[in-house]
């Protein structure tokens, strides 16, 4: 992971000759900032005040595709890597400069260049923030339909590069389903457009071969994205089912009848139980309030406009778990969380049993539909009826509204859980319906050996569904935390591969899942390596990601 010997002055000079002195930085604070994304594993070092494992040699802010191409050609001649950087919200270390190099912050390329209502296509530059993109579209009566909880801190280019998914993906599809064409600066420094009527063009679909390449094949500088008319109607409803299996079956029936709700979420017993508890104590919620994304007002559009009350955060359920511990053993001290997380098997078992006993409610589901008024109304009625036929109990609108109100409640500060010596992360896997329960039980058991784990099912398709595991672990020191963290991912992903699932549904690969890419693709990796040689002959594009080798050329 050591950077090659390159002369920083030469890099600075070359870059300044391209973009001028104001859009290049070699300042330590910038190099430190761009050394990582939101990958939780990198937070262990940060918590200890240790420096990042590797730094870029320089950060540059290009303003157009021509500048990007010139920078890539300069990097090629200097033999230094290029790392494209969007919002920095990735959770797999996809921007970590393992061989140093030039980090391209794309956020100065943020124009929404065109919105073609007659074609339902938008042309957006890669650095455009998701929030601004959707707000602009909403003003013009359209939506792209990708609403990840990171929408305030992720970019269009990042979405395309990682095959992202949003909360409404069951209706609108994942990002790769919505890309009509890309402008890409390849690793050889050429600008290519992959547009064209994919249905009429012979040869492979280059758009689909670049989407999801995580910067390893080139820098995506702009994208033509498919739009939908803004929804005229939105209906949300909560349901309860007796078990995970019953819920999965109900969702499958809805999707296979050709119905397309926008949101489908099924929480397993522990997730349901923790979600059903009142947000814990509230003792420090006010203090943390400003660190959250704003909450949508009732009746708002897809995105909230004004800050609202501080919502529970993404590790809220874990804090409630802690509160449960406090309640159970009066006067438990602050290290209760650590103590509980150090005995994951006991907690998984105990809480599972307690949840079942106390709640006796089974699993909660959130179903939401949106779209054109007339069709959505009919689809909603058919969906709810189908769920009831499958044994789900209608809980009315309130659970749906509650979810809607808090869905962007992501904390932008280091999670308090980390402060207390624990860690929390998420693992999103997917499989066909036939394998789905196997996937759930296998991965849950694999993670459960090491950490407290809960899950929800979301992003449903007619042929399968993704599962989103949230887990929390605890170790006494940084080395122990890293060991535990790595073991969780190793066992979890190997379990997913074993039962025939995929190791990532929408977070991407980055560094985190790179070691498992061969298990995922086997012989097909040679196709990916062929693409790498084709588009990045000198192996300078974002090295070490996607399992494409770290230093000496494609693996």
């Amino acid at each position: 992971m050591s950077a090659p010997a390159v002369d920083p002055d030469r890099i600075r000079k070359e870059l300044e000759a391209i973009v001028g002195p104001r859009r290049v930085s070699l300042r330590p604070v910038d190099l430190d900032t761009y050394a990582r994304d939101m990958w939780p594993r990198l937070l262990f070092a940060r918590r200890d005040g240790a420096p990042p494992p590797c730094l870029p040699n320089a950060v540059v802010w290009p303003e157009n595709a021509r500048e990007v191409a010139t920078i890539v050609r300069a990097a090629r001649s200097m033999g230094v890597p290029i790392i494209p950087y969007g919002g920095g919200s990735g959770v797999c270390g996809g921007v970590v400069p393992v061989r140093g190099g030039i980090t391209l912050d794309m956020k100065r390329m943020q124009a929404l260049r065109a919105v073609r209502g007659d074609e339902l296509i938008a042309d957006a530059e890669a650095g455009l923030s998701g929030e601004r993109f959707e707000r602009d579209l909403a003003r013009r009566g359209f939506t792209f339909g990708n609403f990840p909880s990171s929408i305030y801190c992720s970019t269009v280019g990042g979405w395309v590069a990682t095959r992202a998914a949003g909360q409404l993906s069951t209706k609108y599809g994942k990002v790769e389903d919505r890309v009509a064409g890309l402008t890409v600066v390849t690793g050889s420094g050429e600008i290519i457009d992959t547009d064209g009527p994919s249905r009429a063009l012979g040869g492979p679909n280059w758009t689909q071969l670049v989407v999801g390449s995580e910067g390893t094949l080139g820098v995506i500088t702009s994208a033509r994205l498919r739009l939908s008319p803004a929804p005229q109607l939105r209906v949300f409803r909560g349901f309860e089912v007796g078990s995970v299996a019953a819920g999965v079956e109900a969702i499958r029936r809805v999707l296979q009848r050709g119905l397309r709700p926008a949101v489908v979420r099924l929480y397993d017993e522990l997730d349901t139980f923790l979600n059903s508890m009142k947000p814990s104590g509230g003792h420090d919620d006010s203090e943390r309030g400003h660190a959250y994304a704003p909450t949508p007002l009732p009746g708002e559009g897809a995105l909230p406009v004004l800050p609202g009350a501080p919502p529970p955060d993404e590790d809220g359920p874990l804090r409630r778990l802690l509160a449960l511990g406090r309640r159970g053993t009066r006067g438990l001290r602050k290290d209760a969380l650590g103590a509980m997380l150090s005995r994951p098997r006991a907690v998984n078992g105990l809480v599972g049993a307690v949840a079942e006993k106390i709640a006796r409610k089974g699993c909660r589901m959130i179903i939401g539909l949106e779209g054109a008024r007339i069709r959505t109304e009919i689809e909603a009625a058919l969906t709810f009826a189908e769920l009831e036929r499958a044994g789900a109990k209608d809980m009315g609108e309130e659970p749906g509204r509650a979810w809607l109100a808090h869905r962007y409640a992501v904390s932008y500060r280091m999670s308090p859980v980390f402060r207390d010596g624990a860690f929390v992360d998420t693992m999103e896997v997917a499989a066909s319906w036939e394998q789905l329960l196997d996937l759930y039980h296998s991965v849950r058991a694999a993670i459960g050996r090491h950490a407290v784990v809960m899950a929800h099912f979301s992003h449903a398709y007619a042929d399968g569904c993704s599962i989103y595991f949230t887990f929390a672990g605890h170790a006494d020191d940084r080395a122990g935390s890293e060991r535990l963290y790595d073991a969780i991912w190793r066992d979890g992903l190997e379990a997913a591969t074993r039962v025939g699932g995929t190791i990532s549904h929408h977070h991407g690969v980055g560094l985190l899942k790179a070691p498992y890419m061969f298990g995922e693709h086997r012989e097909a990796m040679s196709v990916l390596i062929g693409l790498k040689k084709t588009l990045d002959p000198d192996d300078i594009m974002n090295p070490g990601k996607l399992g494409l080798g770290g230093s000496g050329g494609p693996a």
Binding site: R199, R257, S432, W433, A462, S504, H505, G508, L528, T534
Partner: protein, 412 residues
């Protein structure tokens, strides 16, 4: 050398399944994916080239290829390997035809889906390997979107199996490299397809519109309201007269025939959305029998009477009207007349099928039509993004350094 090649081929697939097609060409019909891999390894050893021919009887032309040619047919790979009724997925060998698959699915209440019936005659492997327009469905998208995964043999004889999951974020979709590659990057041996329950209900409807423009506008009005018809076709006045006889609609009018399908309430909703859009554009309901005739013919084994359309062009939603008028105008200016229908609607646009009427000097008329369509922003069949050709060449060189995989394809 030829003798050795023949011996190797006969050993690989059995003597009954190799025959000499020309002095340096053999027609090979492997019976298993492993046999295809073996044939490709044999080609590599003997410096022969591998040309997939699906179930086609005629051998493709090959310019400037002097090496021995193996014309590899897939008709013996005709098994439905696994039908996953829980996930609505079907794993089929490359040589299964659309019709063959429908015969397996129909008794179980399932179907490939509402694609144009023209796909039924092709093999699944061919449908996936060759990207041509006209394989689209408003309900399911482009045929390629139904491919969840596939197996293919690479030039070095290794077989790839792409992982099955409804969606993945594990790098580019590697199955997509094989889709549309016409056998140049890999030889597709089996495909896992999304399939569908047969619709609970189907409604048919026909509408008369004052103009072609109004008909296209009405269609997009309905699609914007999220109507998802199982099939929809717009016929101009001349085309309507050709199929249904005079007087169905006026010469300048247009006819829409549509089928909607799904749960009864939704199928009715979609039908009503189209009807409402038609009224908004000044149209009226026409005799449903017109749509029934269309649907019946569309799904009968025999082709529509008469020759296939002379000319096809695809256009994005905003370019359809312009392309229609440009082609019609160009054909008229070249001294001929034409009739046209528009169908195969999907998110990327639709296709115009133009038939020249009473045309002498067919080539000039066609050239005029092509020029007109291009000027109006339409895309002709067989178009390719040639500026990306160097990358395709490089990718082929990376995966197939000896150039044995269908070297004549995707080069023109």
């Amino acid at each position: 050398m030829s003798a050795e090649l023949l011996v190797d081929l006969e050993r690989a697939v059995g003597p009954d399944h190799v025959r000499v097609d020309a002095p340096t060409a053999w027609r090979v019909a492997p019976g298993a994916a492993a046999e295809i891999a073996e044939v490709i390894r044999i080609a590599g050893r003997h410096g022969a080239v591998v040309i997939p021919v699906g179930s086609a009887a005629r051998a493709p032309k090959l310019r400037g290829v002097e090496r021995p040619r193996l014309l590899v047919a897939t008709h013996r790979l005709d098994q439905v390997i696994h039908l996953d009724e829980t996930s609505l997925l079907c794993h089929v060998q490359a040589g299964v035809t659309g019709l063959g698959l429908e015969k397996v699915l129909a008794p179980r209440g399932m179907s490939i889906g509402d694609y144009p019936p023209s796909i039924l005659g092709s093999t699944i492997g061919g449908l996936v390997a060759v990207r041509t327009p006209g394989k689209s469905s408003v309900r399911h998208g482009f045929f390629e979107d139904a491919v969840v995964g596939l197996s293919a043999v690479l030039a070095d004889g290794r077989t790839i199996h792409t992982r099955l999951a409804p969606r993945r974020a594990t790098g580019p979709d590697l199955a997509r490299a094989m889709c549309g590659s016409e056998g140049t990057l890999g030889f597709i041996t089996s495909v896992v397809l999304r399939i569908h329950h047969r619709p609970e209900t189907r409604f048919l409807a026909a509408f008369a519109l004052p103009t072609m423009d109004a008909a296209i506008a009405a269609t997009y009005l309905a699609l914007r309201e999220e109507a998802a018809p199982a099939g929809l076709r717009i016929l101009d006045g001349a085309e309507a007269e050709h199929w249904y006889g005079p007087g169905v609609v006026g010469a300048d009018e247009a006819l829409i025939v549509a089928a909607t399908a799904g749960p009864t309430d939704l199928a009715a909703c979609d039908r009503d959305l189209i009807a409402s859009a038609v009224r908004a554009e000044g149209g009226r309901e026409a005799d449903t029998a017109l749509a029934e005739t269309w649907w019946k013919r569309r799904h009968s084994a025999e082709p529509w009477p008469g020759p296939p359309p002379s000319f096809q062009v695809t256009a994005t939603p905003s370019k359809l009207r312009g392309a229609y008028h440009a082609v019609r105008g160009a054909v008229a200016a070249a001294g001929a007349s034409s009739r046209c229908h528009v169908s195969r609607f999907d998110a990327a646009g639709a296709m115009l099928f133009v038939t020249f009427v009473a045309a002498t000097g067919h080539d000039q008329v066609r050239a005029a039509a092509e020029a007109g369509a291009r000027a109006a922003g339409g895309w002709l069949l067989g178009a390719r993004a040639r500026e990306l050709d160097p990358y395709l060449t490089a990718l082929r060189a990376a995966l197939d350094p000896d150039g044995i995989m269908n070297p004549g394809a995707l080069t023109g």
